[in-house]
């Protein structure tokens, strides 16, 4: 999209402005406060419905509705209208937006689909560059630079997706762990029923087959809930499931008794003591806790250290290698703390096994006591089980809160059993025996198998859930890992392309000084590293060694590389808001050719407060006399005064028509001074040195004319040496014309002394002044290509002069003679 016409009414500092860029580059120049940036704001508002300058940090209390329109204007009267050219569409499209309704872009509904991608790109402000953004590309820290560039790249969604996938993967880890615990608990229940300390198929099969033998069934070799009672004919003496079988429950009483046995208590106490000691040791050293907490960060940080040595987290510069060494030392300490953390997990895991074992019996007994109408005992056991579950929960993450104050060592070694636990259990046992007669061996075998069948169903269910969780875990991690790999792959290539283009642009801008310049931009985890070569002395941060001017150049080149890569011609114009000032005078021509040669199809809208720069952009052919606009004398009532007619000769004539010879003379003198100063630079001609730098037209003009004649003579000699008669004749004719023109400028011999006589133009009458004005216009024209409007300049091959050329190539004087050797 290019801008053909632009009308601004009551936006920011502008009252009313009509411009007709016709898709060409525009330069808006004028002093600070003249209203130039209001044009930038208006374009921003038209495309996005926002004004970026009024948003972001430091803009509290500033609103679009109140501060977008001109200070005295009603939002209803504030609007921007543009006629734009869309790629591939012959007819122009009108776009309009009012401050009163900033969310609505008014346009022909038929072009809505075509506009959508343009507006998407515009919302990322890929078409706007200000000095603030330049600096933020270069000097910002790694993470915020990444954020800014990723915002330009529209990659914030990528990070959101990654976070979502990490969250899902973490959840799958927790689910898997919970399922593993369920299996452990089911196995603990089987152990109690099968009266074995450690779960083993062999021991359980032996127990099952003992019961089956009692019931007259064949032994089995494979365990499973559907196998235990397979092919068993229920003996007559067996009544099916009996609600309470004291012989079976005896195992739970025994199990709990064993739990309180001296041996168990000693084992639990040993585990608990070690656990408490380790936790106490770590907690007494806050540094170790921090190291543990930072361990993952340290590992990540080590993998992200920039080649330049910059810290990937805070952006601080470190001598190369020192940060790596520093982090490695910390990581070693963190790894030692990590080993302690592993030991803590192991100890707490073993304690949880004791708890699971006790819970298996407590749950069964409390349920049986309830059925046996012994609610008091049942409640005591339920309370005990609840406390144990609470302890188990705390031990799943002991670093967080263990040992909580309520779990003193004496209680823990008894697995939180009530003080009178022995009596409670004995009383319960006695009550059950009194109420329920002793069961036959067949009944006990049957009830044991029935209980084991329940235990196996729980185990099988837990195993099925675990298998599902394993698969879910695998898929969740695969979703995450593939995404990160895809992101890294695409971004690596993208940043490589941008690095290469950025380096190419920067090398062009800085020429022979930085022929071997290269940049390395790379995505590294959450950050974006950015290093640049410093004169072949290695890669350093861009703001480490390069001057501020060079950093500005880098910012412009990086922006151009990014914007070019991302807009893909969807928006074919770019607004450079006062950024060209960042380029120092020795690189301005290169900057002009950078824009014209590297971005020939881009419409640049450039603002600057530097008149010389504005003129140079014109003399380099980047803008024409019709697209250089001057803003001046801004006031609150009228906004800026706008001079659309910035062509020197038209402005001189305006003064002449009004009889203002003095004004015309002053304008012609200052305009010529600026023009011939530029010519002297372009022709590399010698100018009289002045310590105060206050050279004037008397210094520049003769030097420029002398250089012109000198280059013309060289071109003629070269043409002769190559036997190019036609070129020679044309140059000869041009030399004659140039001589006549110059003579006309000297018609009034008193003009030779610049200090007096150029000023004396102001004393001439109109009729006397007009021939001088015409002679000077013709003289200016000698140095300018009539096709592209650019001032001629020297082209070199290394230190050797090669040609005198214009911007479009229509003028190209060969300065190299044919070798005679």
């Amino acid at each position: 999209m290019k801008i053909i016409e632009l009308q601004i009414r009551n936006i920011r500092g502008i009252r009313s402005l009509d411009m007709t860029p016709s898709g060409q580059n525009i330069v808006i120049w004028g002093p600070n406060g003249a209203g130039k940036s209001a044009v930038v704001d208006a374009i921003d508002f038209l495309l996005t419905g926002r004004i970026a300058r009024l948003t972001g940090p430091g803009t509290r209390g500033i609103t679009l509705r109140r501060h977008g329109p001109h200070i005295d204007a009603d939002p209803q009267d504030a609007e921007v209208r543009a006629l734009v050219q869309l790629p591939g569409l012959a007819e122009m499209i009108e776009l309009k937006r009012h401050m009163a309704n900033p969310g609505v872009l008014i346009h022909d509904p038929e072009v809505a689909a075509r506009l959508q991608p343009i507006l998407l790109v515009a919302n990322r402000r890929l078409h706007m560059l200000s000095r603030k953004e330049i600096l933020s590309f270069i000097t910002s820290e790694s993470a915020s630079r990444a954020e800014q560039i990723q915002e330009l790249l529209d990659l914030s969604e990528v990070e959101e997706v990654r976070r979502a996938l990490v969250s899902v993967a973490n959840e799958s880890d927790q689910t898997l762990e919970a399922n593993q615990r369920s299996i452990e608990r089911a196995r603990a229940s089987i152990n109690v029923t099968a009266q074995t300390d450690v779960f083993s198929d062999e021991a359980v099969v032996a127990f099952v087959n003992h019961g089956r033998k009692v019931l007259g069934a064949e032994p089995i070799s494979r365990l499973g809930s559907d196998q235990l009672k397979q092919d068993i004919s229920l003996p007559r003496s067996v009544t099916g499931e009996q609600s309470i079988n004291v012989s079976v429950l005896e195992r739970d009483f025994q199990n709990l008794g064993t739990t309180f046995g001296t041996k168990s208590q000693q084992a639990i106490m040993a585990l608990d003591s070690q656990l408490r000691a380790l936790l106490s040791s770590i907690r007494s050293d806050p540094r170790r806790i921090r190291l543990l907490q930072k361990r993952e960060l340290l590992r990540l940080g080590l993998s992200l250290i920039e080649e330049t040595g910059e810290c990937p987290l805070c952006g601080k510069d470190w001598p190369i290698g020192e940060l790596k060494s520093h982090l490695e030392t910390h990581l070693e300490e963190a790894n030692a703390a990590r080993e302690e953390q592993g030991r803590i997990a192991q100890l707490s895991g073993l304690m949880v096994k004791y708890i699971d074992n006790a819970l298996a019996s407590l749950d069964k007994l409390s349920a049986s006591l309830k059925v046996a109408s012994l609610p008091e005992s049942a409640q005591i056991l339920r309370n005990w089980a609840a406390s144990l579950r609470s302890l188990s929960e705390i031990l799943s993450d002991p670093m967080a809160t263990y040992p909580a104050s309520e779990f003193v060592e004496d209680q823990v070694k008894r697995l939180l059993a009530p003080e009178d636990a022995d009596q409670v259990l004995n009383r319960a046992m006695t009550d059950l025996i009194a109420r329920y007669p002793e069961a036959s061996p067949e009944q006990t075998a049957w009830d044991s198998l029935t209980r084991l069948e329940e235990n196996f169903k729980a185990l099988e269910s837990a195993q099925a859930s675990y298998e599902g969780a394993v698969e879910r875990h695998r898929r969740a991690h695969a979703l995450h890992d593939h995404f990160v790999a895809a992101r890294d792959e695409v971004l690596w290539n993208l940043y490589r392309e941008i690095s290469l283009r950025f380096s190419e642009l920067y090398r062009h801008l800085h020429g022979p000084d930085e022929n071997y310049f290269e940049a390395r931009i790379a995505a590294e985890g959450p950050g974006l590293s950015f290093g640049v070569d410093f004169y072949g002395r290695g890669i350093h941060p861009p703001h480490a060694l390069h001057s501020e001017g060079h950093q500005d150049s880098m910012g412009i080149c990086l922006y151009m590389a990014l914007a070019e890569r991302l807009t893909k011609g969807i928006i074919s114009f770019k607004v450079l808001d006062d950024v060209v000032m960042s380029v120092d005078s020795s690189h301005r021509r290169k900057f002009c050719t950078l824009l014209s040669e590297f971005f020939p199809n881009t419409q640049f809208i450039i603002t600057t407060h530097d008149r010389t720069w504005a003129n140079q952009l014109r003399t380099e052919g980047l803008v024409s006399k019709d697209t250089i606009i001057e803003f001046y004398n801004w006031d609150i009532e009228t906004g800026p005064y706008v001079n659309l007619d910035t062509d020197l000769w038209q402005r001189v004539d305006t003064h002449l028509r009004s009889g203002d010879i003095s004004g015309a003379a002053a304008l012609m003198r200052t305009g010529s001074e600026s023009f011939f100063a530029f010519v002297c630079d372009s022709f590399e001609s010698q100018v009289r040195f002045r310590l105060d730098g206050r050279n004037d037209l008397g210094d520049f003009l003769p030097s420029a004319v002398g250089a012109y004649n000198s280059r013309l003579r060289s071109a003629k000699k070269a043409a002769q040496s190559w036997s190019q008669q036609e070129a020679f004749d044309q140059l000869n004719e041009l030399a004659s014309t140039a001589s006549q023109i110059y003579q006309r400028t000297l018609a009034e011999q008193w003009t030779v002394n610049a200090a007096i006589h150029f000023n004396n133009w102001a004393n001439l009458g109109k009729e006397d002044f007009i021939p001088i004005r015409e002679a000077f216009q013709d003289l200016h024209a000698l140095f300018v290509c009539q096709n592209c409007g650019a001032v001629l300049h020297l082209a070199k091959q290394g230190p050797q002069l090669d040609a005198l050329r214009c911007g479009c190539g229509q003028i190209n004087w060969n300065l190299v003679e044919k070798s005679t050797s």
Partner: protein, 67 residues
């Protein structure tokens, strides 16, 4: 007339396309899940962990819908 659209080679589009290519090539992820992820991308719901959880849960129960 030349049609303009959000460029398919935008970094975001490229990452998503490469992601789907990788998931397809994995072979163990399952076509249903890959299709579901593609659907979440199109509907911009891939940034919501609960949507992905739902997809994984549906897959476990064999109830994921064809897209």
């Amino acid at each position: 007339m030349e049609q303009i659209s959000e460029p398919d080679d935008s970094p975001l589009a490229k990452i998503f396309q490469r992601y789907l290519d990788r998931l397809n090539a994995d072979g163990t992820i399952g076509l249903e899940l890959v299709q579901h992820v593609a659907e979440l991308m199109r509907s911009e719901k891939l940034t919501d962990p609960s949507e992905i959880q739902k997809a994984l849960g549906q897959l476990e129960r064999g109830t994921i819908e064809d897209h």
